[in-house]
């Protein structure tokens, strides 16, 4: 079986500075894959390049199709979705309209059931459906960003630092939801600094340092790996208690 997302020998550069060097990765169907690494390792850059926000040199294939010539909007149409680091919500519009536009590329007939699914996953959004996105709390904004992405019924959801700036209890909630997505048939590519929480729910993991993958394997093995434990897990104070 071929992978859902396959990236081979990818380079991403800002001007002359290469932020991502010769990276290859795969995400299979029904799989949660995480990329962990320190701040500035190139994780966000890689996700943005896979989505088409940044230009990428190398190969990116999704569901057997070469993405090289496709714009962001076409990649969305194929079932690839990114919840960006800054969430990129429509701040002056209400929750319901944000979600509605998440289904912009889907058939209108499917919208009602998508709303039901997303509200079941995030009941809080249903309570706040008439509230403007800009007035939501950080956790609710993250839920809305994920909900909006799920409205388009993606096959692969890419999450960029969903725990950033959120209280541990909300982080736990969001990670539980990410875990539930797998059983709903959505693959997840998760970029996280909170390595411990990410490794708990992931099937496989890549460790990124200075723009390159230095380690990869099943999440359980990575969690036990000595170097990783020292670099990324040792200083986590919030993760364990929250999950």
């Amino acid at each position: 079986m071929s992978a859902l997302l396959s990236v081979a020998d990818a380079h991403v550069a800002y001007g002359k500075v290469e932020a991502v060097r010769s990276v290859s990765l795969e995400v299979g169907a029904h799989e949660i894959v995480t990329i962990i690494g320190a701040n500035g390792a190139g994780k966000t850059t890689l996700l943005n390049a896979v989505m088409g926000v940044l230009p990428l040199r190398g190969h990116v294939g999704f569901a057997g199709q070469d993405l090289a010539q496709l714009e962001i909007e076409d990649r969305v149409g194929l079932g690839l979705s990114l919840v960006a680091e800054h969430r990129e919500l429509f701040w002056t519009m209400n929750v319901e309209d944000n979600l509605l536009l998440g289904a912009f590329r889907s058939a209108r007939s499917a919208t009602a059931s998508s709303f039901e699914r997303v509200y079941a996953l995030f009941p809080r959004l249903k309570e706040r459906r008439k509230q403007l996105a800009g007035t939501l709390s950080g956790g609710e904004q993250q839920m809305l960003a994920m909900g909006r992405a799920l409205m388009g019924a993606p096959r692969l959801l890419m999450l960029d630092e969903p725990s950033l700036g959120l209280a541990p209890i909300i982080v736990a909630d969001i990670f539980r939801t990410v875990g539930e997505l797998r059983s709903a048939g959505v693959s997840v590519l998760l970029v996280e600094q909170n390595a411990q929480a990410a490794l708990k729910i992931a099937d496989r993991a890549y460790v990124m340092e200075l723009g390159e993958f230095v380690l990869q394997g099943p999440a359980r093995d990575i969690e036990r790996h000595e170097g990783v434990a020292a670099s990324y897990l040792g200083f986590q104070h919030t993760g364990e208690s929250a999950i």
């Binding site: 909007e73 149409g77 960006a84 919500l89 519009m93």
Partner: protein, 346 residues
Amino acid sequence: MNTTIMLFLIQDGITNGAIYALLGLALVLVFAVTRVILIPQGEFVTYGALTYASLCAGQMPGTARLAFVMGIAAFAFDVFAARRALRLPLIARAFAANIILPGIVLALTSVLVGRHPPVLVNVALALVIVALIGVFLYRLAFQPLAHTSVLVLLIASVGCHLAMQGLGLLFFGAEGQRGPALADTAATLGPLRFTGQSIAVYTLTIAFIVALWLFFGLSVYGKALRATAVNRLGARLVGIRTSLSGQIAFLLASIIGALSGILIVPITTLYYDTGFLIGLKGFIAAIIGGLVSYPLTAIAALLVGIVEAFSSFYASNFKEVIVFMLLIPVLLARSLAAPAVEEEKD
């Protein structure tokens, strides 16, 4: 000055102000969605007015041919842009929208032009022709530049304005034209006399503002347009094409421009270059609204209209000067209130 004259001037100001309001709203909309400062808005006014006047006079307007030629160019652009992934349905769709549609409009115009169709048919034809020009203008001049800075877009905008003004001279000649009024009735209310045309101006302006409000508040495409204005990257991430939003914005702007022209041309004689000045007054209103606020723009437009009416009464030589001077206190206040902002990159 007595009350009658004052009421008269206010009435005149509001009639013109209503039209500036429409134009100002279109400018704000286009800027929010595409970051283009739409200088050619005035040419949409001229084209709409003079196309309508030509049709009523039984002449073939050159704008119908222009729309057809621009459509062919737009088709070439579409095919070139999709050259790496050419598929038949894609080409068929581009062909239908860019060549067949303006072709039908051109054929319809040349069939109807000598036969003196009803006024409303001429209005509709003029609107459709200018709307096509507006959408193709976006496709040809602005869509290829969509990722560039506001300054580049502004320069392209000035270029479009100059080119379209020159073409206007070619199509309509240097003499001004007037068109027939949309309604011949008149009503009197106290000392004021409302002509059918001014009533048409009020009704259509209000109807258009309500229609826009409904479009943005209720329809998915209206919401998609707002979303693009609020967060361009966010909109792309849910699959809303920037080019689609841009086309809708230009479609609305060109229809609004043409409609304004059709409303004005029975009141004043319009020349091939009059539209620019009218568009600029909408632009003043839009600037007072900070290029973001729709209600502020509409109110400012009424103010511009009234100031213009009074200054043409007291100092008609300085009419334009006084109106454009309104900008100075606004710009001063805005630059003092807000710290210098770097241009947003995206």
